[in-house]
């Protein structure tokens, strides 16, 4: 160990209590940041997963413009060709076809506007969680035709139950009137109120007949093993879809384009949290600044001696920066360890959200949130602390440069 490092290390322990408190402040801030960011990441993942799993999927292939206008004529005309492309992309874990149309749904007593989706019962079960969300009745099976799954809130609003009839009236792909009567086979409850209030699912083949789809679908909805695989899939699918000759070009949209509201909500939450974290770090930074400045006032005479012996101001600055960085790094390491352990505990057991559960239910999250300890959540907070502490430590370290040897030597 060099004398320089020894000096720095021993200087830290000259005032053991003060240095320990400073390191604890850094460690506490880092632990809090690691836990909070992991908690946020966990809740975002839960929100995304529930939204993605219930309906949207990680990505969708649609005719260009369909996302904005939901025009029934904007179709994927030959879904089997798209299927072949997706079969050849290894990161695609599952996909399904859907066709959708806006319709009026009437029961004996009431009429509501609904979003009717044609789904492939088997494929849909691999992509979305709709099968698991059935609360009454049964999920659709392969041979079903004029049977429907409806959201719990819609069923309540229409005052229908299992076995009741609903009349659907809409516009077909060719502009003609599309009308049918379906029987309620199952009622699902996703926790996403909008979805539960609007959605009616019928078998895809039956939808294609009723809405004159001529074998076309509106979306191909896909999943990847994780969000990290998504960009590769989007790139690969886009490149290969360009080779298909369709009237309208096909677009690959990821979840952020499919649910811009959710993406923005996450971004706003992240930014407001970051502002809070910056304030927390600033408070810690001032405590660190105080420690460093006190150390300088106490050791001014010693700096005078060091300068008298020929120590350059650069070397003094380096010494002080080494001291502050040792304290910071130790504090950060302790903080990551502490924050990591706490996070991993709650990652396993979850945190009950108590009265806030209703709020989270709107996003389809159950009453417990599971923080997600990731390299990113472990690194962001501590990195910010490191940068800010480094900047704060520069001030006292450069203040030393203004000392004049003779004044420092006579400092009392």
């Amino acid at each position: 160990m060099s004398i320089h490092f020894k000096m720095a290390w021993r200087n830290i322990w000259r005032n053991r209590r003060r240095s320990l408190l400073t390191m604890l402040a850094i460690a506490f801030a880092c632990a809090l940041l690691v836990f909070m960011l992991s908690f946020q990441f966990g809740s975002y993942e839960a929100m995304l997963n529930s939204a993605i799993k219930i309906h949207t999927g990680y990505f969708q292939i649609q005719a260009e413009g369909y996302q904005d206008k939901n025009d029934i004529r904007s179709v994927v005309p030959n879904p089997e060709k798209v299927a072949r492309i997706l079969d050849n992309i290894p990161q695609v874990s599952a996909y399904t076809f859907r066709a959708s149309a806006f319709s009026l749904a009437s029961s004996e007593e009431r009429t509501y506007g609904v979003a009717v989706s044609g789904i492939d019962p088997n494929k849909e079960a691999a992509v979305s969680s709709i099968k698991r969300l059935i609360r009454e009745g049964e999920y659709l099976s392969e041979g079903d035709s004029d049977e429907a799954l409806v959201g719990a809130l819609l069923a309540k609003n229409l005052r229908v139950g299992i076995g009741d009839a609903i009349t659907l009236l809409g516009q077909g792909r060719d502009g003609s009137v599309a009308a049918t009567v379906v029987t309620v086979k199952g009622i699902f409850s996703s926790g996403l109120d909008d979805f539960d209030r609007n959605a009616v699912h019928i078998p895809l083949k039956y939808f294609q007949e009723v809405f004159f789809m001529r074998g076309a679908v509106h979306t191909v909805v896909g999943l990847t093993p994780s969000l990290w695989d998504l960009p590769k899939v989007v790139d690969a699918a886009e490149a290969r879809l360009a080779g298909l000759n369709t009237d309208r070009p096909l677009a690959v949209l990821d979840w952020k384009e499919l649910m811009p509201g959710l993406a923005q909500a996450i971004m706003i939450d992240l930014i407001s949290a970051l502002i809070f974290y910056m304030l927390l770090i600033l408070v810690v930074a001032f405590s660190i600044l105080n420690t460093f400045l006190m150390a300088i006032f106490e050791r001014t005479r010693e700096f005078g001696v060091l300068m008298a012996m020929g120590t350059t101001k650069e070397r003094l600055t380096r010494l002080l920066m080494t001291e502050s960085m040792i304290m910071t790094v130790l504090g950060i390491a302790g903080g990551i360890l502490l924050g990591g352990l706490v996070t991993l505990y709650f990652q396993k057991h979850g945190i009950s959200m108590g009265d806030s559960s209703e709020l989270f239910r709107q996003f389809g999250i159950s009453g417990r949130i599971y923080p997600r300890f990731t390299p990113l959540s472990a690194a962001i907070g501590p990195s910010l602390v490191l940068v800010i502490t480094f900047l704060v430590a520069l001030y006292p370290a450069f203040k030393v440069r203004k000392l004049r040897p003779v004044e420092a030597l006579s400092y009392v």
């Binding site: 004398i3 020894k6 012996m309 020929g310």
Partner: protein
């Protein structure tokens, strides 16, 4: 040959709102190998003169040259370099680095000079042996007596073979026996290593040991006695 030359050096500093004229035009020359005492009562200006000769402070007017280096043409960093390579300091309050052991304190100057670790350790131990601290290499300053600390300070000041050692009241905090031992040791080093020593002191023993005695009074050289002459 003169190692220190001061020409008409004036220094005023502020004490509260009062201007104190510490030096009022000091001119003197000290030869290489000298063992010189700057004597005078408190406030006479001897420590100020020592600080100026060590490049720790700048005069208001006048010129100072040490070992051929005119200070008024030198930057702060060049002055630091000169102090590192040519000048050793011994302080009244010892001023060892509290977090370093005796041997590390002595090594520190050589570290600044870029001497390799092995040579550094060897030379530091040799000089500590020379000042009679061979069994105290690893003691921290707090574990040493005042006399022992001052011996480490002397070892630190001369380990890198400086041309000049400036000692500010080095015996003031020591009892007479320890003080005499220290003076004898410095006189020996002056003889054997040809290192020039300049003391500021009002200790009669130091004045007795010195071969040249310069009395400073009210910021001026009041008396300059070369005992060898």
């Amino acid at each position: 040959m003169a190692i220190v030359e001061c020409t008409d050096v004036v220094k005023t500093y502020q004490q509260g709102k009062v201007d104190v004229r510490a030096l009022r035009g000091v001119t003197l020359s000290i030869d290489t190998g000298g063992f010189v005492a700057l004597a005078g009562p408190s406030g006479s200006g001897k420590t100020t003169l020592l600080n100026l000769i060590g490049g720790l402070d700048e005069p208001d007017s006048g010129h100072i040259t040490v070992d051929g280096n005119p200070f008024d043409e030198m930057s702060q960093s060049r002055l630091a370099e000169l102090r590192l390579n040519k000048i050793g300091f011994i302080f009244q309050a010892y001023n060892l680095i509290p977090v370093l052991s005796a041997v590390e304190n002595v090594e520190y100057v050589m570290l600044l000079q870029g001497v390799g670790a092995g040579e550094r350790r060897e030379r530091a131990r040799a000089i500590l042996d020379e000042v009679g601290l061979s069994d105290m290499y690893n003691r921290r300053p707090a574990e040493l007596s005042g006399g022992q600390q001052q011996r480490v300070a002397v070892a630190r000041a001369i380990v890198s073979n400086p041309a000049l050692v400036l000692a500010d009241e080095p015996t003031a905090n020591l009892d007479s026996k320890t003080g005499n031992g220290l003076l004898e040791m410095m006189a020996e080093m002056n003889r054997t290593k040809k290192v020039t020593f300049i003391f500021s002191t009002h200790d009669q023993r130091v004045m007795d040991y010195a071969r040249r005695l310069i009395r400073i009074q009210d910021g001026r050289v009041a008396e300059d006695v070369d005992k060898a002459a």
